[in-house]
Amino acid sequence: MVAFIRRTLESLVNFLLPASYFAWQTVIYMSLFSWLMSLLARALGTTSFTIGVMATLSWIMLALGIGWGLEANRIRPFGIPIAPWVAGAILCLFMFGSWGGEWLQPALTAWPLVSFGVVAVPTLISWDFRPKRPAPSVRQQLVLLFLLSLLISSWFQFYFRIQAWIQDYPSLVTDNFDQSAFVYRLPGQSTQLSAGVTHLSMAETIMREQIDGKPWSSVERWLLNEQGQRQTLQREVQRRMANQPSLENDFWQVDFQPFTSGDGYDIKIWAIWSGPSAEATGYHLEKSCSLMPVTQGARYDTSTDMEAQPFASTRWANLSCQLDTPRQAGHPARYTNRQS
C-alpha cells in the first residue's frame, strides 16, 4: 500500500517536475505565471496594454505547451497527430473568443488555417526568426496540408452559409431534405412551425374581423364579391406582415375558397408556398373553417348600424376554424367545388 502511494507520488512528481527544463511542462508553467501576472497587473490597475500583453503571452504559451505535451506523449487518436489542431483551436479561441457576439463563425473558419500555421511556422522560420528553406519533400507536404486546411475551412464556411439561408428563409427548415446531395439533417431534431402558419392565422384574424358576428345577409353579400375579398385579404396580410420583414414573405401567398355546405359554407384558407421545396409542385398549408348562420339573438356585434334590437329571425354569421394546418403537396384545387 505504501509502495503504491510512493509510486503514484513519484510518477506525479515526474509528471509535474520534468527532468529537463526544456519540456512542455515549463511552457505551461510560464503560461500560468503569465496569467497570474496579468491578474496581478489588473489588480494593480495598470494600463490595459500591459494586461493584454500578459494575457496574450499566456494564451500563446498555453497553446504551445499543450501542443508540445500532446506530441511528446504521443497522443494520437486514430493515428492522427492532433497536437496542431488542439493548439490551433486554443489560439482561435483566444483570438476570436474575446470578440464576443458572433465569434464562432470566424473562429471555426480560421481554425484549420491557424492549425496549418502552427505546423508550418516551425518549418519555415528558425529559432532566431530567420526564414528557413525546408527540403522539397517537406514543402510538398506543406502545400498539401495548406490546401487541405483551406478545403476544410471552406466546408465550415459552407455550413455557415446554409445557416444564413435558413435565417433568411425560415420555412425551409420544415421541409424534407432526403433528396439533397449536399445537406443532412441530424436525427433527433424537432421541426419548427412553418412561417406560413403565421400568414394563415393572420388571414384568419382578418377574415374574422370582416365577417364573424356580422348579419348573415351582409356576409352573403361579402361572399358575392369573392375575387375582390381575395385581393383585399392578400393586400391586408402583406401589410400586416410588413411588421416582421423577412425575405420569405414574398414566397407566401394567402388565398381562400368558400364551398357551400348545408346552410352555410366551408371556407378553406390556404397559405401557398412558391419557393424551393422538396415537392416538384410546391406545397400549401390549409386551414379549414366553417361559416354558419346562428339564429340565437344578438350574441355578437350589437353596435352595427342595423337595428339595435334584432328580430328573432335575424341570423348572424359564426366563423370557427380548426387549429391544425395540414401541409399538402401541389397547388390548392380552388375551382373544384367540393360538396361535403
Binding site: L144, L150, L172, A181, F182, G188, S190
Partner: protein
Amino acid sequence: MPLQDLLFNLGIMPLRAIAFQSLLLMVAISLEALVLRQRMRLGYQTSMQYAASLNLLATSLGWVMFLIAESMLPPPLRSQIISVVLFNRFYPNGWVDMLPVLTVVSAMGVFFATYWVKLQGLIWLMVLLERAPVTAATESESRHQRYEMARRGKAAQRQDYPSRTLAVLEANALSFTAILILLLLHQGAITL
C-alpha cells in the same frame, strides 16, 4: 436536454456534400495521377502528390469562388441555388427556362477555369519544389511524332511545355468525365 439543444442549434449540416466531395476527390486524384504518371514520366508517389495538390487547389478555389458568387447573385438566382443544394431540384420561378442553358455554360466555364488553375498550379508547384521539368525520353516517341517534329523544324528547340499542357488537359478531361458519370448515376439513383 443539452444534447437536444446542441443538435437543434447545429441545424442542417452539409455532411453529404463533405462525403460526396471526398469520394469524388479521391476518384479524380487517382485518375489524374494515372495520366500525369504516364504523360510526364513521374513516379507513383510524385504523380499522386501532384494530382492531389492540383485537385485540392482547384476545389478550394472553386469553393471560394462559389461562396463569393453566391453572395452577389440576385435573389431569384440565389433561391434557385438554395433549391438545388437543399432539395436537389430547381423550382419554378422567372429564371427556370434559362437555367439549363446557364448550367451547361457555367459547367463548361468551370471546366476551362479548372484546367487553367491546374496548369498554373502545376507550373508553380514545380518551381516551388525545384523540380526541373522532366523531358520525355526521345525513344518513347512514336515515329509519327518524330516525323511531325522534324517537319516543323522544331526538334532542336523542343520543350517540355506541350507535354505538360497536354497532360493536364487530358487529366482534367478524364476526371471531369468520371465525375460527370458518377453524378449522373447518383441523380438517376435518386430519381428512380
